[in-house]
């Protein structure tokens, strides 16, 4: 790689960075992806695995619909099915007030193509008899679903590698510079910086290092979503579940294990997080309320990760406000898995054409400038 000049260097081999790499290669560019750990092993690989459009902001609708189409071609795109299923996503209301917000959301997104169905208590009981008593109604999005993030996200990285991208895993980018023509990226394990014409920042919770280097820091902090998985039990749950107001979400994989999340873990260090006893007990309590039949089922593992989030819980996607050739895509606040592949494509368009075919104005980095 001596003196090798890349068209594009991507920081971060999560689902966003790797799908951007895949698209850029498709456009004929040379790509180097720098990843501090293993590709797709941080938030992209350890999230809940919801592939959900329902519940996203209006601003995200065009992106999420674009992603929906990519998920439909997942196997052609990355060569594996990643256990992706369009099971439907059911968002439950635990009060009349919550039901009213689900109704409002359906009206607001009526033109977006989500196909939401509102269900009353009786309908809910009939179609989803395993649900607990707390739910008064729900909103069902038939084509949403779930997938296995620990396969899908590395899958995008492997596909990009096969297509010719250079992946530098377990490599930390330690310094960034732009000389007016080229970007220089220093890495911890080499004296010689890597060079590129474009720099794409998909560094998730660690993206601010790049932003700061180019004079546009963002007010990002970290969250540590907590998840657990049960032993395998006969398949009973045919949808991915969420709750209006948040706090718990659940799905069951075909092997029979239930994957359930909610609450927060705690940070172990800059990269790693772990579930704490209180967090586990709280989310398990909520899960039991949602799915009472799980009471005698055993929990076999819990985990957490590190996720970047901005004050408005919307990501940063778009061109840098300070540096030509720098493109950002990070800060998905625990909801990046589904739209990740579409964001990757958008970032590739921003590199190649300077603009995106999907509206992304709401996600501009400039929104934090006072």
């Amino acid at each position: 790689m001596d003196d090798k000049l890349f068209d594009v260097i991507i920081i971060g081999a999560g689902i966003v960075g790797s799908s951007a790499a895949l698209k850029l290669l498709d456009m004929g560019m040379s790509v180097c992806v720098i990843e501090s750990g293993a590709s797709g092993s941080r938030s992209s690989g350890i999230n809940y695995g919801g592939v959900r459009r329902q519940g996203r902001s209006l601003a995200q609708m065009p992106l999420t619909q674009r992603a929906h189409a990519i998920w439909g071609r997942l196997k052609q795109t990355i060569g594996i099915d990643g256990e992706y299923v369009r099971s439907g996503h059911l968002k439950l209301a635990r009060s009349d007030k919550d039901m009213a917000s689900l109704e409002r959301y359906r009206e607001l997104t009526a033109d977006c193509g989500l196909g939401l169905e509102l269900l009353g208590r009786e309908e809910l009981k009939k179609r989803f008899p395993y649900l607990g008593e707390r739910a008064v109604g729900g909103s069902f999005c038939p084509e949403d679903g779930h997938a296995n993030p620990r396969l899908v996200s590395p899958g995008f990285a492997l596909a990009a590698q096969k297509a010719g991208a250079i992946f530098l895993e377990y490599t930390t980018a330690t310094g960034f510079a732009y000389d007016g023509k080229l970007f220089q990226v220093k890495v911890h394990n080499s004296d010689r910086p890597l060079q590129s014409r474009f720099l794409v920042n998909c560094a998730g919770a660690w993206a601010n290092k790049v932003c700061e280097a180019f004079g546009e820091p963002v007010p990002m902090d970290c969250s540590h979503p907590l998840m657990f998985v049960t032993e395998a039990v006969p398949v009973f749950m045919n949808v991915s579940l969420g709750v209006e107001g948040g706090g718990v979400y659940a799905r069951q994989v075909t092997r029979g294990n239930c994957v359930i999340g909610g609450t927060q873990g705690y940070a172990l260090d800059e990269y790693r997080a772990r579930p704490g006893g209180d967090g586990i007990r709280t989310v398990v309590g909520r899960a039991l309320e949602l799915l009472p039949d799980l009471q005698n089922v055993q929990i076999i593992r819990t985990w957490s990760g590190t996720e970047g989030r901005l004050p408005d819980r919307e990501p940063v996607i778009g061109l840098s406000s300070t540096t030509p050739g720098l493109v950002h895509g990070f800060g998905f606040a625990g909801a990046g898995f589904q739209i990740g592949p579409a964001v990757g494509e958008v970032l590739a368009e921003l590199v190649a054409q300077g603009q995106s075919t999907t509206p992304i104005e709401a996600f501009s980095i400039s929104r934090f400038r006072s």
């Binding site: 293993a38 590395p154 172990l268 772990r274 704490g276 709280t282 899960a287 039991l288 309320e289 593992r301």
Partner: protein, 466 residues
């Protein structure tokens, strides 16, 4: 003191730690997963069984009796909580599962004496009914007075091999063969080191000659090829030291390659781990007193490296003395304490030399991976085969053990890799041409063992969220 000194594990290390603490007026909380004290080595039989300690523990009967008396002596001076599984640990608290309830316990100092389990490596047929771990075979006898079968083969390596064979044969079980994967030459070479504990060495030699005198078939330098049988084990195919294949009939097999430390709790409290090439495992770092890299956390016994029962008792005492010093309850200037510490540490060093000899005498086999078939299950919980692992390593260019777990699901099931993790790591090292150290260490997440949802669920917290 609001928060107690907590000792996890009521085996030899935990009990001696409690004895020392109680001697200085500290009332420790002793948590143990079992119903009765003793750990695995002195596992108690059910109350209505009447075998004496001599029958149960052989040469260790006196040690067991001594420990029992100590336990009864301190029983009222400690907060002893049997049937308490520590399923989560953090830097200031642990979570315990006890009789269908979970409770949180904050600790001021923590002594972890979590013990060890069999180290097993897969071979074709190892999942057939009738195949047991060596330690499990021993426990069946100690606990329930049962043999694992009526025609038993014991195989593998480690001092436990001959001890279990001896215990089985003396209890009247039919031991058809004792098969050691280590060559005799390894034992010869290790003799100088083993002589530093002549009593221990003599015991081992006694077991071997006792078995030989009774005509038990004994072989060395063998390799396990596969277990035969359709619905249960019917025989074992082995290769002898000269390369000749033998087929031995049996209806049960106990096998194992020494022990492996249970290090999950040390991991959860964030102790630093180092690779130990002799034990072929990552072990929590500790100094001579058992002090770890985490403030207030101490380790004792086989849970932090296999050293055997005597060392466990000493390490328990030593860790307790360190805790007492830290609490200001005993002075490192007190000549009695200084002498006790010196005696313990010097004895531990001798045992450590002896252990090094044992590792040389009973080395971990190196060629077991060659016998695996593509359909040999490696991870029993998730039914991940050797072929699955090979394919994942090849397809995804996997080099690291946690990555292999994520991509293949090996070690992702109910045991969370406690049983298969070391075998998987050896396989990954073998397939990628890396050292065992390079493939890394499986990270632990709570729960340490599976826990039921209804027990863990905190209903009060859930209402809050509504």
């Amino acid at each position: 003191m609001d928060k107690p000194v907590v000792v996890i594990g009521a085996g030899p290390a935990g009990i001696r730690a409690c004895e020392t603490l109680a001697g200085f007026g500290v009332r420790p909380t002793l948590l143990d997963e079992s119903q009765t004290w003793g750990g695995q080595i002195f596992r108690q039989q059910p109350g209505n069984f009447k075998r004496g300690f001599k029958d149960l523990y052989g040469f260790d009967a006196e040690r067991a009796e001594n420990l029992k008396q100590t336990f009864h002596k301190i029983r009222e001076q400690i907060d002893y909580r049997p049937q308490s599984l520590v399923w989560n640990a953090e830097q200031n608290r642990i979570d315990i599962l006890h009789k269908g309830k979970t409770e949180k316990l904050q600790w001021s100092k923590l002594i972890v004496a979590s013990g060890a389990t069999d180290r097993v490596f897969p071979f074709p047929g190892w999942t057939l009914p009738g195949v047991y771990g060596l330690g499990a075979s021993q426990i069946a006898l100690k606990y329930q007075a049962c043999a694992i079968g009526s025609k038993v083969i014991l195989a593998g390596t480690g001092p436990l091999l001959y001890l279990v064979a001896f215990q089985y044969a003396s209890a009247g079980a039919n031991v058809v063969a004792v098969l050691n994967t280590a060559p005799v030459s390894a034992r010869m070479k290790a003799l100088p080191k083993l002589f530093c504990l002549p009593g221990q060495l003599a015991r081992g030699m006694y077991y071997v000659s006792w078995l030989k005198m009774r005509g038990v078939k004994m072989m060395d330098g063998i390799q396990i090829m596969r277990a035969k049988g359709e619905t249960r084990i019917e025989g074992l195919v082995i290769k002898d030291a000269s390369g000749k294949i033998h087929e031995l009939e049996c209806d049960a097999l106990g096998f194992g390659y020494g022990l492996r430390s249970e290090t999950q709790i040390a991991d959860l409290v964030s102790c630093q781990f180092n690779f130990n090439p002799v034990q072929r495992a990552f072990l929590p770092a500790k100094d001579l007193s058992g002090k770890t890299t985490v403030d207030g956390v101490y380790l004792a016994g086989d849970g932090s490296g296999i050293m055997g029962v005597e060392a466990a008792e000493l390490a328990g005492q030593r860790a307790a003395l360190a805790v007492l010093t830290e609490l200001g309850l005993c002075s490192s200037k007190d000549s009695g304490v200084v002498r006790q510490i010196q005696e313990i540490e010097s004895r531990l060093q001798t045992i450590s030399k002896f252990r090094a000899g044992l590792e040389e005498a009973f080395p971990c086999p190196e060629n077991w991976i060659d016998q695996l078939q593509d359909d040999t299950v490696v991870c029993r919980c998730e039914e991940i085969t050797y072929g699955d692992i090979k394919q994942t390593v090849l397809d995804c260019n996997v080099k690291e053990i946690n990555r292999l777990k994520a991509l293949s699901r090996s070690g992702m099931g109910r045991c969370q890799g406690r049983m298969c993790g070391h075998a998987t790591a050896e396989i990954l090292a073998h397939l990628t041409g890396q050292s065992l150290q390079e493939v890394g260490r499986l990270r632990c997440q709570p729960p340490v063992k599976p826990v039921p949802i209804s027990v863990v669920a905190d209903a009060s917290l859930s209402q809050e969220s509504a």
